[in-house]
């Protein structure tokens, strides 16, 4: 018994001591932050796919050297936690100064954003510096709610080793682009005449599927956003063709039904092609066991990619809106923006820095830029309607899987989605 109570005493005192320690520890660092040189602290919520976090830290260091009164802290979170993190901070009354934000979230947070127009030289003055196709994402109600950092384009990466083995040559210029039928046949040839096990892997998101929709002349909504158009003839054709490629075994069902990561499938070297986007270039950079490249996406009634990107947003009520806007202005300049994109292997949204001096894959970026230049306006118009898109995108993703699994017909599924879209439009009125 005596031994036990001794142990308990030790235990209790350790507990109290360490609690005190933890409490002190937290106070201490708060003090040291404040007692410095009265710096203005900017919290910058950030997520990374690759090295861009490191690049941003360099840029921040440069900026802090020039502006000694500012202290920018990168709060890194997983991409999937970004919306929850921002929501708790904003609704909890402690909004961060800045956040990196993707096209999927920008709409939801635009009501909380600082209008940057004035700081950045007026709406027209600012937007004219950037690619027109992404304008609907960051200009909401004639306010500049965020500044574009990089732009993305959907496109196709292919396994050159397998294509060579099968003796199939990919289009060399935008003049001899494949039609979808030609592409489908080419993939079948590669499947038959090479070691390929999978023809085309297609990212498991409605956003990537919509590439086909736009190429076949379809859209999700009409251009003024008053009615769903996804269930028209072009839409049905896009779903039918997508299903046909699954049925013929060109696209493996394991991605859209089995949740297999297409990126991993492509990396095995047994997959002929991957429909994804330019962000994959930095991911595939270290592949050593086969050759790969980027090729033109096939043409339907027209060519099209889907533009996207990442932005930086400043939040209202952070108490440091002014400093945050200044930093965004710095980030948006040609020099800094080019540095960020060049080092991160991203595409610049600025019209005047399309031709960056990348360390890797310069010609691949040129091809993606070409895809972006041949993109229908509907793509950005649809995906920028962020008060409507979240209400149906999960259902669209499930609906497409359902069609592949023979659960519904294309028309049935699209009619249901169209209904959801129209309901969502009704709700926002």
């Amino acid at each position: 018994m005596k031994k036990n109570s001794k142990a308990m005493f030790v235990l209790l005192s350790t507990l109290i001591l360490s609690l005190l320690l933890a409490a002190c520890g937290s106070n201490e660092s708060v003090n040291s932050g404040d007692s410095g040189k009265k710096k203005t602290k900017l919290d910058f919520v950030w997520f990374s796919d690759g090295v861009e976090g490191e690049v941003m830290k360099e840029i921040i260091a440069d900026y802090e050297a020039e502006n000694s009164h500012v202290d920018i802290e990168l709060i890194e979170v997983a991409y999937s936690d970004l919306p929850t993190k921002l929501k708790t901070m904003i609704s909890g009354g402690k909004p961060p100064a800045l956040a990196r934000i993707s096209t999927s979230e920008i709409g939801a947070f635009s009501s909380q954003a600082v209008d940057l127009a004035e700081k950045l030289g007026g709406v027209d003055g600012f937007t004219s510096q950037f690619l027109d196709s992404i304008k609907p994402y960051y200009v909401v109600d004639n306010k500049v709610v965020a500044s574009p950092m990089d732009v993305t384009a959907n496109g196709i990466m292919y396994n050159k080793t397998l294509f060579d083995q099968a003796g199939v040559e990919v289009p060399q210029s935008s003049d001899d682009i494949w039609t979808w039928d030609e592409f489908n046949e080419a993939l079948k040839t590669v499947l038959n005449k090479s070691d390929a096990q999978y023809g085309l892997v297609w990212d498991f998101t409605p956003h990537r599927w919509s590439t086909l929709l736009y190429q076949l002349g379809g859209s999700m909504m009409n251009s003024d956003g008053t009615a769903a158009t996804i269930n028209n003839e072009a839409g049905v054709k896009a779903v039918d063709y997508f299903k046909k490629m699954h049925d013929e075994g060109v696209i493996p069902t394991s991605v859209w039904l089995g949740g297999e990561n297409p990126n991993n499938l492509f990396r095995t070297g047994k997959t002929a092609a991957h429909l994804s986007g330019n962000w994959m270039i930095s991911n595939y950079k270290d592949i050593t066991d086969f050759e790969w490249g980027v090729t033109y996406m096939p043409i339907g009634t027209n060519r099209s990619s889907v533009p996207g990107g990442k932005f930086v947003m400043a939040f209202q009520k952070s108490g440091v809106e002014e400093e945050a806007a200044n930093f965004i202005s710095y980030l948006s300049s040609k020099e800094v923006n080019s540095k960020f994109n060049e080092k991160s292997l991203f595409m610049s949204p600025r019209k005047d820095s399309a031709d960056l001096n990348y360390e890797f894959g310069k010609e691949m970026f040129a091809l993606f830029a070409d895809e972006l230049n041949n993109t229908v306006p509907a793509a950005a118009e649809d995906w920028s309607k962020q008060d409507i898109v979240p209400k149906f995108s999960t259902d669209l993703k499930e609906g497409l899987s359902d069609v592949i699994a023979d659960g519904k017909t294309s028309q049935q599924m699209l009619d249901e989605i169209a209904e959801l879209i129209n309901e969502a439009i009704e709700d926002t009125k």
Partner: protein
Amino acid sequence: MTPTKAQKTFVYVLLILFAALWLFPVVWIFLSSFKNNTELYQFPPSLLPQQITFEHFINAFEKGNFGRYFVNSAIVAVTSTLLLLLINSMAGFALAKYRFWGGTFLLLAFISTLMIPLEVIMIPIFKVLSALGLYNSLLALIIPPAATPTGVFLLRQYLLTVPDELLEASRIDGANEWTIYWKVVLPLCRPILAALAIFSFMWRWDDFLWPLIAISDPNKYTVQLALSNFIGEFNVDWGSLLAMSVITMIPVLIVFLVFQKHLVSGMVTSGMK
């Protein structure tokens, strides 16, 4: 009652069989963390890395101040566990050995709240934390999660098996309630407290949601929070994730090995002899 040789052999064969099944995926994770990216995605997969590389470990450590994160996680896990053992055993003792108005209700209310997905109430939790000045403080990761319903329930159920006569004897000797708890009940609870210590350390070490809600200051990141940063929008850095997962398992494993030794019989007899 000594088991026959055949019985013993049977037990061992069964154990080794199951253990091998259980261990295989763990071994796979461990070995994979030493494979380079090409091998990681290779098909057909191979168990042993053909070329052992430490690149994932190096990359992971370069991507953040992991030394700091380990210290933070350790402070949180140790203090929170001590606090949990104390308050959960007190509550468990009360719920098992006293009948008092509201007792059962309290217990069931505790347990039922386990069902509320924490994600849904994140915003109110944040508001409470920041109202109490706990935002960006490690205390927010130590105090709130220490009041686990599971721990209270575990202690209560364990103490139900402790015969009341043991407590009565001390009571007749004139011990007060605190002394009974401290000198009689706690020593009896050794195995279950050891189990709870193992759990609590793991819960806090692996906790993700509380740190996500409460911590924004990178200096106060825990290991799990930092780990999740390997997950981007389009890319997951599986190599770094695997490497760090292997490393973060080590402290939890050590705690398990130390405390499982205390998973021995608490009472030799029923006290009814």
